[in-house]
Symmetry: C2
Subunit: 450 residues, 2 copies
C-alpha cells in the first residue's frame, strides 16, 4: 500500500487531521501553489459544538459532518487520504501512516485530542466518551436501548439503574449534554414511554472543581448552575470519580451512584504520535511548540490546535484553552507563516484574539461572554444559534440544521429516535482492517530498523 | 424480565413485527377496544422500497425510518416492546420472547423474511445483504471504505477487486441498487475520486433466471435490461453463483469475478419461529395459512405479509408475491376479520387486488404496470416518485424526502458520503445483550420442560 500521490514540482504540505485547525490551513493554502495532502482517520470533517445534539437524538449525524472529498472537490492541489499517523521521521522528512509512507516539505500536526481516562481501566472500558460523531451515535443508541430495557425490569431499583445518567466533567460538553438530556426527560419520556416514571430518571453532573465551566467567568458558572438545577439536574461539585464497578459510579467520598449510562467528558489528552518522545509533551500530553507553532527540535514540523501547547506566550503561560477559535486562528497564522517562509520572510508569532465563549443549556438558555460583556438567558441563546449556524459548513447543512432547529423549537417531538447499527459489512471491514493493521505494524518495524 | 403490561379487561392482540403488515393491523385496530402489544426487534418501522437509496448514500436512514413509539404516541391501547419472538405455545395462548412471556387472545405473526443464502456458508459470511436499513448503512460504509482503499493499491488488479461490484439477484432490489450504484459511478466518482479510473469500476448484476424482474411482464424486464445496459451495468442472465472464495464470486460455468463488494439480494426465507415444526412451513420457509390467514391447526394464531404462504387461493396457487401491497391488504383484511370474530360473524377470505407494480432504475428511468397499462421511462419514474412519497409515513419525512429528491435532481452531488460507525456504547450494549440472550435461552428451556 502507498498513498499513490505523484510529487510533481510543487512543495508538499502534509496535514494530519482535518478538524478546525487542519481544515483552515488546507483552505488557506489550497490555491498557493503547494501540493496539500490531508490525512484523517475519518472521511469527513466534524463539527464538535453540536455533537451533543446527536447524542440526544436531536440532530442528524450528517447535518454536522462534511465529507473531505466534497469540501475539496474543486481543489486540484488537495489530496485526501483516509489514514492514521503512525510515526514521524523529521530527519528524513517522512511520516509513516497506516497506508504507507509519505514525505513532506512541511508537516502540520493537527490531530486534536482523545478522551483522557486518567489511567482508570474500568472507567476506560465502561464509560462512554462523546468527542466524535461516532461516539455520540453510540451514546444515543445506548440511551434509547436502556429506556427500552427499563420497561422490562422487575424492580424499581433495576429500572433506576437503567434510567439514571451520570455525566462526569463540568466543562461545556458536560453542561450541554446534561441540559439536552434533561429536556429529553421532560419532553420525550412522558410521550414516548408512558409506562415509565420519569422521576426515576436522575441526571447527575459531576465536577471535580468547585464550579462548572471553569474556562468562563464565575458569573457564567453560577448562571449555568442555576439553569441546570432548575431543569432538575443534580449538579455535584468538588466530587471526584474514582472508579466504576458493578454498574456503579464510585466517588472519592465513599458514596456511589447506580447507572448504566455513564458519560465521561472529563478531560482530553493530545493525540498520540507513535514515536514521539515524552520530552516533546507538555501538560495534557500536548505537543510543545514555540510561538510559531514549530515543534521543538524538528525542522519544518508544526503542530496546531488542541494537540499543541504553545510555550512562551506571556498572556497564556499554561498554553491556550482548547477551543475552536484558538485552532482556527492558529491555522490561519500558520498558513500565513508558511507563505512567508516561502518568500524568505520571518514568521510571525501566534497571538490569540479572544472572541468570547459561550455554552448552551437548553431552549432559551445559554451563557455568552465577549470581553467585558456577559450575557445569559434568551439573548445568549439566540446568539449561540447564530454563531454556530454561521460557522457550519455548506449551504445544504445550514438549511437542514436551521430547519431542524425551527422544527424543534415549535415541536419538541423529534422523529430521530431510532437505534441504528450498521450491520455485517462492518464486521467484514473491521476484520480486514485488523489484518491490515498487522501488516502496517510490520511495515513500521521495518522502517524503524532501517 | 417481563413485558410489564397489565392485562386489564380488554382482549389482547399480540403482533410480532411492525412492517407494512403488522403496522396496518395495529393502526386499524388501535381504536377498537383491544389491547395491542406490538413486538419488533427494532424500535422503528422501516420503509423497504427506499432502502437501496441509503446503500448508495443518497438518503438519510432517518428519512425512511419511523420510531414505533412516535407512531403510537397518542394510542393509549398500543404497547410497544423491543424484543424478538422465541417460541409460540398455542395451547397455552402464550409466546416466549427475548424479554419474557406474554399471553394473547389473538396472535398475529408478521415478522417478514430474512435473506436466504441457500445454505452456502461462504456466501453467508462474506456477502452483504440489503434487507434492512442497518444492512444498507453497513453496505454504504463498505462501498465508501473500499473506494478509499482502492486509491492506496499498488496494482490495477487490486484496485479492480475493490472497485468491482457484484450484485446477485435480478429482482426489484437488485435492479434498483445496480442502477443507483451505476449513477454513483458516473456522477460521484469523477468528482470525489479524481485519482481513480472510473472504468475500473464494473457493476455486475447476476440473475439465475432468464430475465430481470421475473415478477413483472417480459416487456418491463426487457425495458429494465435495456436501461441498465445503457448505464453500463453488466447484466448476466442464466448465471448461477456457487461460491465466494478469496474475494472472488464463483459461477457455475467455471468463471469468476473478483470483488470485495458482493451484494446478495437473491432470495428470502420466512422469519424463523423457534419451536414451529417444518410441517407448518411451505415454499421459501413461509408459514402456511388458510385463506383467512390462520395458521393451520392453531387457534387464534394468524400470519400475514411476507412471512406467510396463503394456501387454497385458485388465482395464486403458489402463494402471493412478497410485496408491500399484499402485506398491507392482508393486514387490512385480518383487522376486519378479527372485528367480525368479536361480533360472532364469519371471517372473509383474503382476496389480493393487484394495484400494479413498479421498479426504478435511476433518474427518469423506471417501469410500471397497472393491470393492462405498461409504462417505462420518465412517466413511470414520476409515478414511482409520487406513489412512494405518498406512502411514506409522517409529514416531516415526506418533506425531508421530497427536499432530498428535488435537491438530488438538480444537484447530483450529495453530501451524505460519511463512513459512520456508532462506537463503544455499542460494544457494551452488545456484550450485555449476549449475556441476556444466555439468560433468555435458559428461560426458554425451562418453559419447554414445563
Amino acid at each position: 500500500m502507498s498513498l499513490n500521490i505523484e510529487k510533481g514540482d510543487k512543495k508538499r504540505i502534509v496535514i494530519v487531521g482535518g478538524g478546525f485547525a487542519g481544515l483552515k490551513v488546507a483552505n488557506k493554502l489550497k490555491k498557493s501553489g503547494f501540493q496539500i495532502v490531508l490525512i484523517d482517520r475519518n472521511n469527513y470533517h466534524q463539527f464538535p459544538p453540536l455533537i451533543y445534539q446527536v447524542a440526544s437524538a436531536g440532530m442528524e449525524p450528517s447535518s454536522i459532518s462534511f465529507p473531505f472529498r466534497k469540501i475539496f472537490q474543486h481543489s486540484k492541489n488537495v489530496y485526501f487520504r483516509m489514514a492514521e499517523l503512525r510515526a514521524v521521521y523529521p530527519d528524513k522528512k517522512l511520516i509513516q501512516t497506516s497506508i504507507g509512507k509519505v514525505d513532506y516539505d512541511y508537516l502540520v500536526l493537527a490531530a486534536g485530542t482523545t478522551t483522557n481516562f486518567y489511567g482508570n481501566k474500568n472507567v476506560e472500558s465502561e464509560a462512554m466518551p462523546m468527542k466524535t460523531v461516532s461516539e455520540a451515535m453510540g451514546l444515543q443508541n445506548a440511551i434509547l436501548a436502556n429506556l427500552e430495557r427499563a420497561i422490562t425490569c422487575a424492580t424499581k431499583l433495576e429500572q433506576q439503574e437503567l434510567l439514571n445518567v451520570v455525566i462526569v466533567g463540568g466543562g461545556a460538553t458536560g453542561v450541554e449534554v446534561a441540559g439536552v438530556l434533561s429536556e429529553m426527560k421532560h419532553t420525550v419520556l412522558p410521550h414516548d414511554y408512558p409506562d415509565l416514571d420519569p422521576s426515576l430518571m436522575n441526571i447527575y453532573l459531576i465536577e471535580a472543581g468547585n464550579r462548572l465551566l471553569a474556562g468562563m467567568s464565575p458569573e457564567s458558572s453560577a448562571a449555568v448552575e442555576r439553569f441546570l438545577r432548575k431543569m432538575g439536574v443534580n449538579v455535584l461539585l468538588n466530587k471526584m470519580v474514582t472508579d466504576y464497578q458493578d454498574h456503579k459510579v464510585m466517588l472519592a467520598d465513599g458514596s456511589n451512584i447506580a447507572t448504566r449510562t455513564f458519560i465521561w467528558v472529563s478531560g482530553v489528552a493530545g493525540s498520540h504520535v507513535g514515536n514521539l518522545g515524552t520530552e516533546h509533551l507538555g501538560r495534557g500530553f500536548r505537543i510543545k511548540v514555540d510561538r510559531f507553532n514549530q515543534v521543538e527540535g524538528m525542522d519544518s514540523v508544526f503542530c496546531i490546535g488542541d494537540q499543541c501547547l504553545v510555550c512562551g506566550d506571556e498572556d497564556y503561560p499554561n498554553g491556550h484553552p482548547q477551543l475552536a477559535q484558538v485552532a482556527i486562528q492558529q491555522g490561519k497564522n500558520l498558513a500565513r507563516n508558511i507563505r512567508r517562509l516561502e518568500k524568505g520572510k520571518e514568521m510571525r508569532p501566534f497571538k490569540y484574539k479572544n472572541l468570547g465563549s459561550m455554552a448552551t443549556v437548553g431552549r432559551n438558555k445559554a451563557v455568552a461572554e465577549f470581553s467585558k460583556v456577559k450575557m445569559s438567558g434568551f439573548v445568549a441563546w439566540v446568539m449561540w444559534l447564530v454563531v454556530h449556524l454561521r460557522s457550519i459548513l455548506g449551504v445544504r447543512n445550514k438549511v437542514v440544521v436551521m430547519l431542524n432547529w425551527v422544527w424543534n423549537y415549535f415541536n419538541y417531538n423529534q422523529s430521530l429516535r431510532m437505534i441504528f447499527y450498521p450491520k455485517k459489512a462492518h464486521e467484514i471491514q473491521e476484520r480486514e482492517a485488523r489484518e491490515a493493521v498487522t501488516h502496517w505494524g510490520e511495515d513500521l518495524m521495518k522502517e524503524e530498523k532501517e
